[in-house]
């Protein structure tokens, strides 16, 4: 399970990330999930094998401030989020202008839920019952 998660306001994210850096945390990565009206942005950090996560709910169309000035390593994943999820990130140390992961002519923001996927048969999301058995 994801433990040690702090819900963080968008305005405070840079401050919180800075505090974690001062506390000796290592930047692990960021994760972006499409939640319909908003994106869920998770920042993952590690210190002595203990994970800490910050969660920001980012309404679609809102800019996410980059943390690459604090952790340079964040610039790659921020560019990836911009390419694959359409998250607008402001102030990135290097902006690949949407061409970090995707080439010209590639589907736009392919990981967003509104993009059905190319050449993939979408399965029904049949709900499982609590008694349901999963065979592997």
């Amino acid at each position: 399970m994801l433990n040690n998660v702090s819900e963080t306001a968008l305005d405070h994210i840079s401050t919180e990330v800075w505090k974690l850096k001062q506390d000796g945390y290592r930047f692990v990565t960021m994760t972006c999930c499409d939640r319909g009206e908003s994106h869920d942005i998770l920042y993952h950090f590690d210190k002595n094998y203990q994970l800490k996560h910050l969660r920001v709910t980012l309404p679609k169309g809102t800019e996410l401030p980059s943390v690459s000035a604090i952790f340079f390593a964040a610039l790659l994943v921020e560019n990836e989020m911009k390419d694959l999820m359409g998250v607008s990130v402001s102030g990135m140390a290097i902006d690949f202008q949407g061409r970090f992961m995707l080439a010209e002519g590639a589907p736009v923001t392919p990981l967003n839920k509104s993009i059905p996927g190319i050449g993939i048969q979408i399965q029904d999301k049949t709900p499982a019952t609590p008694e349901g058995t999963v065979k592997s």
């Binding site: 996927g117 979408i122 399965q123 999963v134």
Partner: protein
Amino acid sequence: MIRRNTIPFGPQHPVLPEPIQLHLVMENEKIIQALPAVGYVHRGLEKIAEKKDFIQDVYLAERICGICSFMHSQNYCQGIEELMKVQIPDRAKYLRVIWAETHRIHSHLLILGLLADAFGFENLFMRLWKVREQILNIMEKTTGARVILGVCAIGGVKRDITPELGEYVLRELDSVEKQLPELMDSLLKDYSVKQRLVGVGVLPKDKAHELGAVGPVARASGLRMDLRETGYAAYGDLDFKMVVGEAGDCYDRTMVRVKELYTSLDLIRTALKRMPQGPISVAVKGSPPADEVLARIEQPRGELNFYIRGNGTRNLERFRVRTPTFANLPALLHQLTGCELADVPVIAICIDPCISCTER
């Protein structure tokens, strides 16, 4: 007079096993800035994972990488097992360690061979890969496949190692270990090789931490960081000892990988010796995952992260992969800045780049 030029290094280059382009801004022979350009082998695997049944995603996860494939499926299974609160049998944990460590040996031998090839030592390259064949043979004999093993499943593993097979594995490991000293002396003691590696691509400890470096790249800089220390799978019972370097240069990164070969050989031997009898898998019951987890294991290149988020159906809500090479790219850019153009191949190879799994 200082002339400034930009040189594209890759995506097709004799020393690069996989496609990545580095834009190198040069002043005469010195690099003053390096920028990566990826995307040549992006396959959209995370999107496909959302469209498949979460059981089918084991198959998909194993195909993220063609070198450390088993560890991808292992990490995915560990993540789902944590979400579904599945306790796998102890024997399955040991078997996972054995196959994971055979992958680490073959991966390290592969990159050490490529490193030898990068500085023109073709004979050493071929001899290292000859030894690697024996490790691939172990995998073939114990699982039926040489790289994509297909033996990891949610709830355990699909194949067992019989006592006879265990004896065969031990014999092969002894044979591999006998051949290693001569080869490793060529890598670590040869004058010409040292000239190419010592003091090249230095990554200080504080920079390695700040840039989020992982695996042998981080450990060569003196960071004590190896997830096997946390004791996942059966590592907690196997007297695991971490290998750490100091100088943070290409030589120490090579030395860490060489010493890790011996660590992995010991881990497999100990696992075979201490592996308990019993079942190798359990039936997985209950609802599909409805929570989220960040699953982590130590791959040959470093820490592998899978963010897995379920929604209570058989399709995952989100499956995100952060591979060690992705984490080591910022460290690579730092190492390249200020180095000579002639050192770029060796520095690039020394982070052990795996671009296919980085781009997914």
